[in-house]
Symmetry: C2
Subunit: 205 residues, 2 copies
DNA sequence: ACCTGAACACCGTTCAAGT
DNA sequence: ACCTGAACACCGTTCAAGT
């Protein structure tokens, strides 16, 4: 007459996974460890998630939303160049604050998280609107890809400890952001078009 | 009177690991699978490597050398802007040709490969010489970090399938490379210095 | 000097049995 | 309706025993 009532919740399970992720990386997020943390045995987790992969994906979605929220105000900044500076800074801060979470989102391992979608459609649209104001509609997508690629590349190398030649990493980041904004300046657009044609030949051969 | 003679070699083991990596990703590189491929049982591998981690590291070193060789001619190019274009193109081709190998080199998971060193001291020095000719000695390191971060970010997102908004990805790559070269143009250096001071304030607050 | 089977501690996952 | 112990197939790794 008293069927076993839930002793935990989907949210609690994801939160437990998140805590384990920050502490010991993705490897530490085992079904047993997550279950223990919410006061349950590992097999019970299969009532809420199809398996470990599904749990990791839910965790990734949770983190994605957090990143989206962190970037939203920066994307809303009016001046497009200043918005790029802010987005870059917030993005980097997120990675520095939650490196394990960042790694999960941007993991190169497709099998781990499934279809990669670190930036929500929301964030992507916002960034596109921003680059459109910076370089015009025609090259907005390409400029957004430049900014995204740089930001991801920089912070992923930074949190991996890949900058080992000394120097000031903060300076390198700011220098790079300014160089990119300068390189995207409208007056250079026609020159870029020519260079693009040349570039294609190089990439293909 | 006949102690068991070696039935395989360190090189053969690494080659087997490489083949498994390209076929099924890092997860497919199990001690059992590697051993089977070289005609031996899993425990025998411990005569040549301390454990799976050491084997993966040897594999990463192997791949690093391959990448170094692929980039060397491009780095040697005389015209620095053209050298940047070539390095970027070769780097991207490497990632596209051997995505699993690329992922291993640039994995964000420090535990998997130990101290990250995708670019050899050799490649790093070459790239620095190149950016020094492009922007001067004072900002050579920062410019090199911009180029490296962009290239890594772009190709890692590309092979992860993270560019999902349509458009031509080749164009975005070439456009970005040209924008970066333009942004690094010497005549902009003083403007960048001012911007840098501003940028630092943003990043810190 | 290298190879092997057997064993161990750990995974993720399944499932019949409990409440 | 959710929880559990037991079991299974898989890992990486150790080690005594073989040649």
């Amino acid at each position: 007459m008293s069927p076993a009532r839930a002793r935990t919740s989907t949210e609690a399970v994801v939160a437990a996974a998140r805590a384990l992720l920050e502490t010991g990386g993705l490897d530490a997020v085992t079904m047993k460890a997550v279950a223990e943390r919410v006061g349950v045995r590992a097999p019970s987790l299969y009532k809420r998630f199809e398996g470990r992969l599904a749990l990791i994906r839910a965790l990734a979605e949770d983190i994605t939303e957090e990143l989206r929220a962190a970037l939203a105000p920066a994307i809303a900044e009016e001046d497009p160049a200043q918005a790029v500076r802010l987005v870059a800074a917030r993005f980097r801060e997120f990675a520095q604050t939650s490196p394990a979470a960042y790694r999960l989102l941007f993991t190169n391992d497709v099998a781990a998280v499934g279809p990669p979608g670190p930036l929500t459609a929301d964030s992507a649209a916002g960034l596109l609107g921003l680059t459109e104001r910076l370089v015009g509609r025609e090259q907005a997508l390409e400029a957004a890809r430049l900014i995204t690629a740089f930001a991801h590349g920089f912070v992923s190398m930074e949190i991996a400890g890949a900058f080992r030649l000394g120097g000031n990493v903060d300076d390198a980041f700011n220098y790079s952001v300014e160089a990119i904004i300068a390189g995207l300046a409208p007056q250079r657009r026609s020159a870029l078009k020519h260079a693009r044609a040349r570039g294609r030949t190089i990439a293909v051969r």
